[in-house]
């Protein structure tokens, strides 16, 4: 299990470049894949696919509703369209198209949401995306997958393409630490234990996984054994896995580059409340818009520093202590 992650973490490497390469690879493997962008393929790196397979690439211009609808038409004709634009535009501008035709109508379209979280940091809050998990989680039949590093992008993209039904694949704009070794074999829908421990469980997704690992490694120096779980699939959420962690560690922290409302933290809170009430601390953006600035500074300023994760874990453990008589008594 420990063998799944690098120690120390690898040096930063570009998520979007990994995505572009994985897209080209996918295009080679599958003739039915068609890639679309809305005049931002130079941002989302689908231009790499365009360069190799121009006849299977469609640029609809700055028209995200049409981007999704054109993809719907392609899907209903047997193609596997992968639509690309900024995450916030899928989650807001084109949302009705996604809801009506992908989630309700069943169109087999994949959405690759570039610039997830705060990663479009200098462009500011209008271009950042802290509500996409909450929004897509509320739609029936939607699947949400969030790779944590470049290797995860490469391993998950083919699964996204093969998945039956719509998928929202949330990407990061920037260079992020390489987290995984080649032994990492994610499967859509299944949480992954990266570090074992029983004092508390940190459930993280996306580029926050690296910070969760750092938090665990830092706490281990104080002999605190934090379990670190990667939850790359936000929907369908792996409830059994979460309940097991709650039973076994009695305290949880969620860590996501997203509002603390309605995303991974919301999914875990719902799961716990329904099945196994336990102390949960949610790390993420505290229900506010961020601002322009360097990416790592924003993550720190808006509540997602390694220190914040450490402190949250400590709070969760203290709450477990305070209610220790309860921790293993309720199982449904």
């Amino acid at each position: 299990m420990d063998g799944l992650i690098r120690n120390p973490l690898g040096s930063p490497s570009s998520m979007r470049k990994a995505y572009g390469e994985a897209l080209v690879e996918l295009g080679r493997a599958r003739q039915d894949v068609v890639v679309l962008s809305a005049d931002v393929q130079s941002s989302d790196f689908s231009y790499m696919f365009e360069a190799v397979y121009p006849e299977r690439f469609i640029n609809v211009g700055i028209a995200e509703p049409a981007l999704v609808d054109v993809a719907v038409g392609l899907a209903s004709s047997g193609k596997v369209p992968i639509a690309n634009t900024f995450a916030f535009l899928f989650a807001t501008r084109a949302l009705e198209m996604v809801r009506t035709h992908l989630c309700f109508g069943g169109a087999n379209v994949k959405l690759a949401g570039a610039y997830g979280g705060l990663s479009d940091s200098f462009d500011g809050p209008t271009h950042q995306t802290i509500s996409d998990f909450a929004i897509f989680r509320s739609l029936p039949n939607m699947t949400i997958v969030v790779p944590a590093d470049p290797l995860a992008v490469r391993k998950l993209l083919p699964q996204v393409a093969a998945w039956k039904g719509p998928v929202y694949f949330r990407l990061c704009r920037n260079e992020v630490p390489e987290v995984f070794t080649d032994a990492y074999e994610p499967k859509i829908g299944e949480g992954v234990t990266l570090i074992d421990g029983d004092d508390a469980t940190v459930i993280a997704c996306g580029v926050m996984v690296a910070r969760a690992i750092e938090a665990a490694r830092s706490l281990s120096r104080q002999d605190i054994r934090l379990r670190v779980v990667e939850m790359h699939t936000i929907k369908p959420i792996d409830s059994d896995f979460i309940v097991r962690c709650a039973q076994e560690t009695g305290a949880l922290v969620t860590v996501e580059e997203h509002s603390i409302i309605g995303g991974l933290g919301g999914a875990v809170a719902e799961c716990l409340a329904q099945q196994y009430p336990a102390p949960l601390e949610r790390i993420g953006v505290n229900d506010t818009f961020a601002e322009s600035g360097p990416y790592l500074d924003l993550l720190d300023k808006y509540g997602m520093s390694v220190e914040a994760i450490v402190a949250a874990a400590q709070r969760a453990m203290a709450r477990k202590q305070a209610s220790s008589s309860h921790a293993t008594s309720e199982v449904y």
């Binding site: 006849e55 211009g61 509703p65 049409a66 054109v70 719907v72 038409g73 004709s77 009506t100 109508g105």
Partner: protein, 300 residues
């Protein structure tokens, strides 16, 4: 009341693509369109829910498409080289269902389940439930962009299948329509024909009052579409326009079909009240009588 599909084979015969547009054929299709209106009337009256006005205005268009122009096969609704019809003005689906049923996609006697619990005939089109329905609709505005995606797929596949979409004129208010128009023009999708059910009325008033559409042909031309204008209740004109559209090269085609909302029932015609109005029993009988009268005219 006599069932219009008493003799289903004869009553619902298909005039295969390419058949010459004889007067008899035009009269037969016109008569059927009138009959289909009575089904729509019964469906909406029965459920006390649905949209009559916009269903009536596209009766001839749908009849001409499904019984002559579209290459579809009710026995193989998933046939990959079938022509596609995107019914974008989804609220008018009572007419779509009626035509699909008579074309053989599902039994005509399922029509009265319209909008009821557990029905395959949902309040707005749901492709997974209703055989022959290509895409979901209801929220207006999607038709052109989705059809453009289908047309792009057909081109990628090297298929001769053609793509059709039926829009409302109020629906043209919606921005995504214009996005789809730009996209279709950019890719010169000449395998795509859009038909605008240009009835001059939307939900809360005339288009003139709610959101003016004129000069309509200039708009589509300026978006680099080939424009054909016809009388949308004249089956002969519809059939001819569809053929002409097939011959246009290098541009997508729009057929502006001038129609009458509520067509066939005098007190419903051109009235926004009958966009979503539900007839009471007297209105139902009066409407049925007028429709039967109109149909009879074609039978003689």
């Amino acid at each position: 009341m006599t069932s219009p599909s008493a003799n289903p084979v004869l009553a619902n015969a298909v005039y295969p693509y390419g058949t010459r547009h004889t007067d008899a054929m035009v009269a037969d299709l016109s008569r059927r369109a009138g009959e289909y209106r009575t089904h729509v009337l019964r469906m909406v009256y029965g459920r006390k829910s649905g949209h009559i006005g916009g269903a009536f205005s596209c009766a001839e268009i749908l009849t001409a498409l499904y019984f002559h122009h579209l290459r579809v096969d009710p026995a193989r609704p998933d046939w990959s080289d079938r022509d596609r019809l995107v019914f974008s003005k989804g609220h008018a689906c009572a007419m779509l269902y009626t035509v699909l049923a008579h074309r053989g996609f599902f039994p005509v006697d399922e029509l009265p389940t319209f909008r009821g619990l557990d029905s395959r005939l949902q309040g707005h089109p749901e492709p997974q439930k209703t055989p022959g329905v290509e895409v979901a609709a209801g929220p207006l505005g999607h038709g052109v962009a989705i059809a453009a995606g289908m047309a792009l797929a057909a081109r990628m596949d090297g298929s001769k299948r053609r793509i059709y979409a039926i829009l409302g004129d109020g629906e043209l208010n919606s921005g995504v329509i214009w996005e789809g128009m730009m996209t279709a023009a950019k890719f010169a999708l000449d395998n795509l024909t859009v038909i605008v059910d240009y009835n001059g009325v939307q939900q809360t008033g005339t288009t003139r009052h709610v959101m003016p559409t004129e000069p309509i042909a200039d708009k589509w031309s300026a978006f680099n579409w080939h424009v054909i204008e016809i009388h949308g209740h004249n089956v002969g004109q519809i059939l001819d326009a569809l053929d002409r559209a097939d011959e246009v090269h290098g541009r997508p085609v729009v057929i502006i079909a001038r129609t009458t909302k509520g067509k066939g029932v005098s007190f419903m015609e051109n009235s926004p009240a009958w966009h979503g109005g539900i007839p009471d029993s007297a209105q139902f009988e009066a409407a049925l009588a007028e429709l039967n009268e109109g149909t009879r005219a074609w039978t003689v």
